[in-house]
């Protein structure tokens, strides 16, 4: 089993519903976020291209964040989900520095927090909160190891890219472009 996400940038409108939904579902304190929206505009008026992306921890295959964690608080669970055990985290910031995507942040309570792929929902067979609310249905979540899963098909069928592949972390969030 290998959980992953695919996000169709051709459908995403950057509405940020995925961001608020994560905040309410996971009770993220105001002023912090686990996911965010970025936008790249290229070209010159009137020949323009806009790419909108919903971003979060990539639950990488090669995890510098887990590797650099001195306490073992950052770890990997079933399905390749990268998690942080709050009460083992000393807040040294090593994992933050080692993530090329700036996907982690210091929670005001002192530990480091990040996207959990909503494992508390996934274990009940639900989609992550962000995926489940997305009004444009542009996000797909599932088992990349299962060739019959929707996400595997979507990734196989479309042109995809990952973010900053040169950082070498083997991200597991794929952007359809």
């Amino acid at each position: 089993m290998r959980y992953g996400m695919a996000i169709d940038t051709r459908k995403c409108v950057g509405c940020s519903d995925c961001v608020v939904a994560c905040q309410t579902e996971n009770s993220i304190p105001h002023g912090y976020t686990r996911d965010w929206i970025s936008e790249t505009v290229e070209g010159m008026y009137p020949n323009l291209a806009l790419e909108i992306r919903s971003e979060r921890c990539n639950h990488c295959d090669d995890t510098p964040c887990v590797r650099t964690c001195p306490t073992g608080s950052s770890h990997i669970i079933e399905g390749g989900i990268v998690k942080v055990t709050h009460e083992e985290c000393i807040g040294c910031g090593a994992c933050i520095e080692s993530c090329p995507y700036d996907a982690r942040y210091f929670h005001p309570e002192g530990y480091v927090d990040k996207c959990t792929f909503c494992d508390h929902r996934v274990k009940n067979g639900q989609d992550p909160a962000c995926v489940s609310v997305c009004p444009t249905h542009c996000m797909y979540f599932g088992d990349l190891d299962d060739p019959n899963s929707e996400i595997s098909k979507v990734v196989a069928k479309n042109k995809v890219k990952v973010l900053a592949p040169e950082a070498g972390t083997k991200p597991q969030i794929f952007y359809l472009v």
Binding site: W36, C89, C92, Y101, D102
Partner: protein, 339 residues
Amino acid sequence: MREELITSGRMNPGIDPVLHGWHWPIPFYLFVGGLAAGLLFFAAYKVLFGKEKDFPTAVMIGPFVALAAIVMGLMALIYDLHHPLYAWQLFTTIRIESPMSWGAWTLMIVSIVNAVWIFTYLKKIFPDFNLKQNFLRKVISNFIEEKQSEGKLNWDWKYKFLRDFESFLIKNRKALAWLMMILSIILGVYTGILLSAFNARPLWNTALLGPLFLTSGFSTGAAMLMILSKTHLEKIAFSKIDVLLIIIELFFITHMFMGYLAGSEVKAEAAHYFMGGEFTVTFWVNVIILGLVVPLALETMELLNVKIPVIIPGLLILWGGMMFRFIMVDAGQVIRYLY
């Protein structure tokens, strides 16, 4: 025009608009770590090569400064933790892949060996000493015999195991020196590669940063000894070492920037931060000119027998070494992968 922006979300303090997850304690910790590594290396080296007599500062005073530096460094490190009360968890695991874990353990072991080293020299450094009636004296007098005459203290241990331990160490000083030399190199390499282990940051992602920090650490150690030394012999010796180390450093720095420029788009961009960009002035003035070129010139003159108070190049090297680490930590957090 290319416009790249985070349109919503991610106002996580410490992450946005630029990463500053690590603050002053980390570069400070790297600086004192490098300094301590240099000091301990020279102490051990001089003992191993039988120069103990000629280099009393390096062998006996340096390690004191090193221990103080390590303690300050550890304190800074813990201060930077967001959960300092959990710091003990650093020592419930060894995670070889984690430079932080490695560093915590290295520092702990080095500080023990360092303390032991000092222990073996206590008699030589403070043959007789006076201490007012205070807490420290009370503690110490639990372990040593007080000399009745004049209330002076010396290091006559009360307990046999301490006396045995001491003579055992002195007998095996060479072995201890070997151990400390190896550990000091590990410490130096560690402070060097801490950043380059974080290859998520394009600026830190270079193999040259390790050797460069190692050299720079040793050079600050030599500079410190240069300042502390009382004899001309010692001063000149470390001055020479420093000239050599500075030349090596300049060589590494040139190569590092050439590497950036020849590298990927982000790497080239990283280099531009130092060549016209945000960090240009601070870097060139503090690190290259004040920290390397000027002291190099001054020391060369000194070696050519022009009288220059050694404290000036010494302090400049220390300053440059510290600024180098502050700038690298800061800039490394600013420069990110583009996508």
